[in-house]
């Protein structure tokens, strides 16, 4: 069952604080967070978060199409990379 709309999206308060501080400082840094349950908000777009996966912080560069998802979705806790000799990487 989805979360009630009247509550608004859930974000841990410390994530908001850290994101705001990073944006104000203008420094190019990874914001380390442990809150995988927090929702990605529009004001996070363009910031790089280090989302903990239980072992290390996985860098997640937030883009517009990630708004509304949870941070944990981009930081897998299990390692299976599969095959793909012709996989391509694109610089964004």
């Amino acid at each position: 069952m989805p979360r009630s709309v009247w509550k608004g999206p859930f974000v841990d308060a410390y994530v908001l604080k850290k994101a705001e501080a990073a944006r104000e400082s203008g420094r190019n840094e990874v914001i380390k967070i442990w809150s995988r349950r927090s929702t990605i908000l529009p004001q996070f777009v363009g910031l790089t978060f280090g989302v903990y996966n239980g072992q290390k912080h996985i860098p997640v560069l937030v883009s517009e199409d990630m708004i509304g998802q949870k941070f944990g979705e981009y930081s897998p806790t299990r390692t299976y990379y599969g095959h793909g000799v012709d996989k391509k990487a694109k610089r964004k």
């Binding site: 420094r27 190019n28 840094e29 990874v30 380390k32 790089t48 280090g50 290390k56 996985i58 860098p59 997640v60 560069l61 937030v62 883009s63 990630m66 979705e73 981009y74 930081s75 897998p76 990379y81 095959h83 793909g84 000799v85 012709d86 996989k87 391509k88 990487a89 694109k90 610089r91 964004k92």
Partner: protein, 172 residues
Amino acid sequence: MSDDLLCVGTIAGAFGVRGEVRLKSFTSDPYAIADLAPLVSEDRGQEFDVVITGQTKNGLTARMSGIVSKEEADAKKGTQLFVPRSRLPDLPDDEYYYSDLEGLEVFDTGGAPLGHVKSVHNHGASDLLEIKLPNSNATVLLPFTNAAVPTVDLKLGRIVADPPLGIFPEQE
């Protein structure tokens, strides 16, 4: 680099009694293995044309040139199938094959070595370069973005990185 062989699949055994084989494909679209034919064995001694005939539980079924009976298919079980790197299609600027990026040396903007690319991942956000640090088994993940990786020089085999603070341990 252009003549390096890339393993794109392997023969998993016979399928049926009429010379078809079970094929494990390692391309991102499994059916694309047929587009890369002719495939070669590791020693480049044999060439195979591939026609995909269907799929089975653990892969594809195919008919391959030079294999006409179940016995021949069984004998080829375990054969790895390769394709020369030069046969992969060219990509637009700012797009790279994972296999091209792996192994590149990484330097910072001042020219100091940061390590080499061990592998490339994508967890749904941007692509990530896994960089093995020099004189250590530790690895770090660097976002593959224009800001963090301003220069990729495949000919010289090097990457210039301008990593955000907090990526490399000594930056913290």
